[in-house]
């Protein structure tokens, strides 16, 4: 109405042409500074020899990337070792993190007494910060007087130097990680399970399906989209593994638990080679993006099969 009364909209005021941008401005400024700009800035840094003292870089082209493929360089040895360690952790952690959370989700959505209490307990560790989780598990896995070794000895076994030998260092990190994050996936699956229409199960029961068949032919297909989401986010989370090795094993024994994130962090803030570290970040980001799209493709290809 007012627009008709006034031939030209003013710039500000309720209907002003610039007013919407004022609402957007705080978000836009911060989003540009800390989300959009760093995507390009980081790439620029990866093409330089960055001087942290003067906060400026000397352009070196792709030298930082080339070093990752030069067998003479220390970055070559350490980066690929870290990448292998990270992939190993992804492989050993994603199946339990998905399967255990699925089991727990089914458990707390059945008509179990105390089920909301159990749900709270399984979910609670996700509210903790990594340093608490690491300090706590480090104490349990402590080599001489830790609780894990007490149990082992009480059962008649030998003590294990959990955090300082392989494969136990990985097992310790894995157990701490499952304990810490499995509740997260569980909650997502619980919401997925609750969304499945109940009459589907009733119809299946009338047709004589047992509980395994209901699970296999009703629950799993219905959970498919949410499972895809969980697999992808869990792979990303495991790929980003940092605090557990940094605080529990210190990357040891002999660098075997130095993950990509840990190495990138150390290269930038321990060795002060920002350029090299940025190049590793970008290489890793590309690997993660490819892995994410590959999983999405894989899942949708399977969809067409069935």
């Amino acid at each position: 109405m007012r627009a008709i009364a006034r031939p030209r909209r003013s710039l500000f005021g309720d209907e002003g042409r610039l007013t919407p941008y004022l609402y957007l401005l705080p978000h836009a400024i911060l989003f540009f500074m800390f989300v959009i700009y760093p995507i390009f800035k980081g790439f620029w840094v990866s093409l330089t020899e960055w001087n942290m003292f003067f906060n400026e870089g000397t352009f070196v082209g792709f030298a930082n990337y080339a070093r990752l493929f030069n067998p003479e360089s220390i970055q070559n040895a350490y980066y690929w070792q870290a990448l292998k360690a990270t992939l190993l952790f992804v492989v050993i952690s994603v199946p339990p993190l998905v399967l255990i959370s699925l089991g727990l989700a089914v458990l707390v959505t059945s008509n179990l007494p105390w089920r909301s209490f159990f749900r709270t307990i399984y979910f609670m560790p996700t509210a903790l910060t990594i340093s608490v989780v690491a300090v706590m598990w480090r104490w349990i896995f402590q080599g001489d007087v830790g609780f894990a070794n007490w149990v082992l000895r009480a059962l008649g076994g030998d003590a294990i130097p959990w955090l300082t030998t392989q494969p136990y260092a990985w097992i310790s990190i894995l157990i701490a990680t499952i304990w810490w994050t499995v509740g997260w996936n569980m909650i997502l699956l619980v919401s997925g399970l609750n969304a499945i229409p109940h009459d589907q199960y009733e119809a299946a029961t009338i047709d004589g399906a047992n509980s395994w068949k209901s699970f296999r032919y009703i629950t799993l297909p219905n959970l498919r989209p949410i499972l895809l989401f969980i697999v992808i986010t869990t792979v990303i989370a495991s790929f980003n593994l940092f605090g557990q090795p940094q605080l529990m094993t210190g990357g040891g024994p002999s660098r075997s638990t130095v993950t990509v994130m840990y190495y990138i962090y150390g290269e930038a803030f321990g060795n002060f080679r920002m350029g090299s570290s940025a190049a590793m970040s970008y290489s890793t980001a590309v690997i993660m993006l490819v892995a994410t799209f590959a999983q999405a493709k894989l899942f949708s290809a399977k969809d067409q099969d069935s």
Partner: protein, 276 residues
């Protein structure tokens, strides 16, 4: 009969898993109340005897090396400022994107959504350099400002605003209320559930953040609780009682908040599924 047996089997498994989940927390708390001389006793004491507050005294009573109270204040100040700022910034943008018509609206929305694909690892170094350039290293803004404008916050709030019937706003406008007043007095109060959900997620994300806070702070008095606990690990590495007292103090606020408003936290995860 068969059904009952199945139920009791599930119940016992659920109970066992619950005990396994609770045990590490119990062990941390129990150790924190043991005398340092008995924390390493063999076999371990299952219940602390005698119960002592010595470890808490050690950690609180050393404000120079381990200013736990200062870390708590830093964490609280950063997390509260971050949460309020993030809600404000996201809500204003979400309102514009949901209700106002202007060129570039779709473009901005989809740019934010597309940015979610970018792996977080690449932000570490350039954002550190930005913070350094601004002179914010080891200062509060470094802990508060960088993650404030999120795509998730904007998205969550926008979706909710779109679900509010616009008739409500129209009638307020007929009564002469201005845009901002409508936003502040009608839209925001109506969005309380989603604002609380997003606020809680933001608070816990910031409170529990470790890597970023580790990078942008270095002086002992600027550390947050999660990072401070790491420096305790350097100092009290073989004093398990003291370490555990520090861990309990770090964990307690987050756990209390979690238990108090778990409902919103669950909703937040279901809505976004994104972990900080």
């Amino acid at each position: 009969m068969k059904r009952n047996r199945y139920l009791s089997f599930s119940f016992i498994s659920a109970l066992l898993v619950a005990l396994i989940f609770l045990f590490p927390l119990y062990w941390m708390v129990a150790t924190s109340f043991k005398l340092e001389s008995v924390t390493t006793a063999w076999p371990p004491q299952v219940f602390p005897n005698p119960i002592t507050l010595d470890n808490y005294r050690t950690i609180i009573g050393n404000p120079v090396d381990t200013p736990v109270f200062q870390w708590f204040l830093n964490s609280a100040f950063a997390a509260i400022s971050y949460t309020l700022g993030s809600i404000a910034v996201s809500a204003l943008a979400a309102y514009a994107l949901a209700r106002l018509r202007f060129p570039g609206r779709q473009f901005y929305f989809w740019t934010c959504i597309a940015s979610l694909v970018v792996p977080g690892v690449i932000f570490l170094i350039p954002n550190y350099i930005t913070i350094d350039t601004l002179g914010w290293v080891d200062r509060y803004p470094a802990l508060i400002v960088p993650g404030m404008a999120t795509a998730t916050g904007m998205f969550l709030l926008r979706q909710f605003f779109l679900s509010i019937p616009s008739e409500l706003e129209d009638s307020a406008r007929i009564d002469g209320a201005g845009r901002f007043r409508i936003f502040w007095q009608i839209v925001l109060p109506l969005s309380k559930p989603v604002v609380l959900t997003y606020g809680l997620m933001s608070f816990l994300n910031n409170w529990n953040d470790y890597l970023w806070a580790l990078i942008v702070t270095y002086s002992s008095s600027m550390r947050t609780l999660p990072v401070g606990l790491m420096t305790l690990q350097g100092r009290y590495i073989h004093q398990y009682g003291t370490m555990m007292a520090g861990a309990v103090l770090t964990a307690l606020p987050a756990l209390i908040l979690f238990l108090a408003v778990q409902r919103y936290f669950v909703k937040g995860i279901v809505l976004t599924g994104i972990k900080g």
